[in-house]
Symmetry: C2
Subunit: 401 residues, 2 copies
């Protein structure tokens, strides 16, 4: 007697869960070292020592009622000030504590934002391929998800499709930079195009369209790339950040929302976000984690580790004849399935003990996601299996012709 929506989610979810169960059974039968599990986006690089030290120091030094107690729903003002300072230093912004609201990760942040903004039936635009949870976040608040097609050569947005699908019901456009699952980074040029289109449509419709940027992978970029800071390009922007990947602490549920004061109705929006944070039941981002990240704002996990994995797996897959847009961020590759029905490819890969997630999960059939946040040795060991898989699909021969 659960709600219809949750019941539907249960049915959909069981396919992925079934794969995990199969993977586990496979590992038991074949030995874990002979199974190449690229299905999960779970950070595997060490938590920075500075994070552990900061947490120990805080627990030993500060008053226990203060580090485990209530504070403003927006978070400790001092923590928010330090986050603002760090952004100012890195991105040349001019933020103070009034621009920052601490959240339970980016997942918490996006739900807080959508709870604050959405009326039922209003539209939230997303770009294919997208993180599968966006659909759920949007459904939580009875919004309507509108999918924009990608340019399949670059996996950047198809701007013609975007313009066609913007409507007077569009309340927000939700981007993810860098993109899970494609690993693509939206450059300044892309952001400017999105901003220009939204400015134009805001005028046309006579109301705000909010640009929400989900940035848990902001620090995981390679080849000297960087992620443009959106408030420089568009006033009605809300950035949802998470420390889950940059510090390898996804279980700690800590992140923040950036709200520029130049935004329309800034004060109402900020106060609304605080209320939403409270009434959804977050109340506040975990207190101790707020204080801890405030001491680690310039710390990073080992990004170089992910980069080495990326170079190895991307290079080898291309050599084997696979097609894949060049990944410049996150720890994912989005590989084209050699056959139109990617489920067939996922099944074939599984026979070679390679676990992948089908692109349909990201509203993009015909592709598979490979999460390379695994030990380097796992990738090395998997290469033979990928070679066999390529051969099975005639990829080597293809290239030779």
């Amino acid at each position: 007697m659960v709600s219809k929506q949750i019941l539907e989610d249960l049915k959909k979810g069981s396919a992925i869960r079934a794969m995990f169960v199969e993977g586990k059974a496979l590992a038991e039968r074949m030995g874990a070292e002979n199974v190449y599990d690229f299905s999960l986006g779970n950070p595997c690089t060490p938590v920075p020592e500075a994070y552990t030290k900061a947490m120990l120091d805080i627990i030993r030094e500060e008053d226990s009622l203060s580090i485990h107690g209530y504070m403003d729903n927006a978070g400790y003002p001092q923590v928010r000030k330090l986050v603002a300072d760090s952004l100012n230093q890195r991105f040349g912004t001019d933020f103070d504590e009034g621009n920052i609201l601490m959240t339970a990760g980016a997942a918490g942040g996006i739900n807080v934002i959508l709870r604050t903004l959405l009326e039922p039936e209003e539209e939230v635009m997303v770009f294919v391929p997208y993180f599968t949870e966006y659909r759920n976040y949007c459904q939580n608040w009875r919004g309507k998800l509108v999918e924009v097609n990608p340019d399949y050569d670059t996996f950047l947005p198809d701007f013609t499709d975007m313009e066609r699908k913007l409507s007077p019901k569009t309340k927000a456009v939700l981007i993810n930079n860098p993109v899970n699952p494609s690993g693509v980074v939206y450059t300044e040029e892309v952001i400017k195009k999105i901003a220009a289109l939204l400015e134009k449509k805001q005028k046309e419709y006579g109301h705000e369209i909010y640009l929400i940027s989900d940035e848990p992978y902001r620090e995981l970029v390679f080849d000297g790339k960087s992620v443009p800071f959106l408030t420089h390009y568009y006033k009605n922007t809300l950035v949802a950040y998470s420390f889950s990947k940059s510090l390898s602490i996804p279980g700690d549920r800590i992140g923040y929302i950036v709200v520029p004061k130049e935004m329309a109705d800034y004060e109402t929006v900020f106060a609304g976000l605080s209320i939403a944070n409270r009434i959804i039941g977050f109340v506040n981002a975990p207190a101790l984690m707020q204080k801890t990240v405030a001491r680690c704002l310039y710390e990073r996990t080992d990004v170089e580790f992910y980069d080495q994995n990326r170079k190895l797996i991307y290079g080898e897959l291309l050599k084997l004849g696979f097609t894949c847009v060049k990944p410049e961020g996150t720890f994912y590759l989005f590989v084209k399935s050699p056959v139109p029905n990617e489920k067939q490819f996922v099944e074939a890969a599984k026979k070679h003990h390679i676990l992948l997630v089908g692109g349909s999960t990201f509203a993009c059939p015909g592709y598979v996601r490979l999460a390379y946040c695994v030990p380097y040795e796992t990738i090395e060991r998997s290469l033979k299996a990928f070679a066999a898989l390529a051969e099975e699909f005639g990829l080597g021969e293809h290239r030779a012709q």
Copy 2:
């Protein structure tokens, strides 16, 4: 351009916020020691040393990726097992990890439950006076709140009113035991009456009615009272617990939901709760806090401290001629306003530097809530002010007549 509901909340919220601001200004003007702030339900007793020690031990001893990493959305199985064991030992239940889902406090837990169960327009029954957030939690998921009147002599539910208001649209009945704001404890007899009525109506309607029990104050009971464990009395029960008050750690956002396996569709409900926990954006209860509370399941903050406060303020208020239902749990008193419009009384109290919250906030006008989670000395110092307030409303004279 925030949603209409959030805008409404903003308007309503500002009255309470205005009082806090006024209180602060008062403290600045008069000196904090001359202001008697009984408005906030913020724990003030020490965090048990065992909690601090457990946290330090875990950080020093366990693998950092494991204590800050992802786990099942329901929480670490080992933690859930330990919670189940502790309940079995205390309440003679027969739970295992399959009965426990770790949440971000009880506020998180209730939202997860309502997200899982509610269809829009379904009804959630609550008992006046009730924690003001229940209205918001219900609105989050587009449910309809239905209020049951109390028996004003005992502040227990008026069962005639309850029966009249149960309907085929009733999906859940949400109780709070002990009750914020009245301090009343629902005894076994009361619980049995509620259970019997729900059993009858379940049969009549041919579908489940869930009994949700919000129990953050479970351990704060006095005079040898105890809070009945609901799964013994009604199968379709969900208990939302929080460690916020029992360990004085409200900022840490940690609690759990109990789901009995005897419940109808237990497996679907439990799986649904896990999904809801994930998609609302909690993902999981903070990882480190899960591990820490698992080592402190028999620890309590200083309940005796609250009891002494209770005895002092309750005794003195009665002597002064105030009327108040006997509080046997929580750290609140619910005092009858000497005039029908309690806002007038709240204003008068403020002139004597006493800060209270009007009963209208709890859907129960004509009363005020007094939170006695303050230093004992604050209560002692406030007594003269209460005496003056009583005199102002002619309470002493009343009694002499």
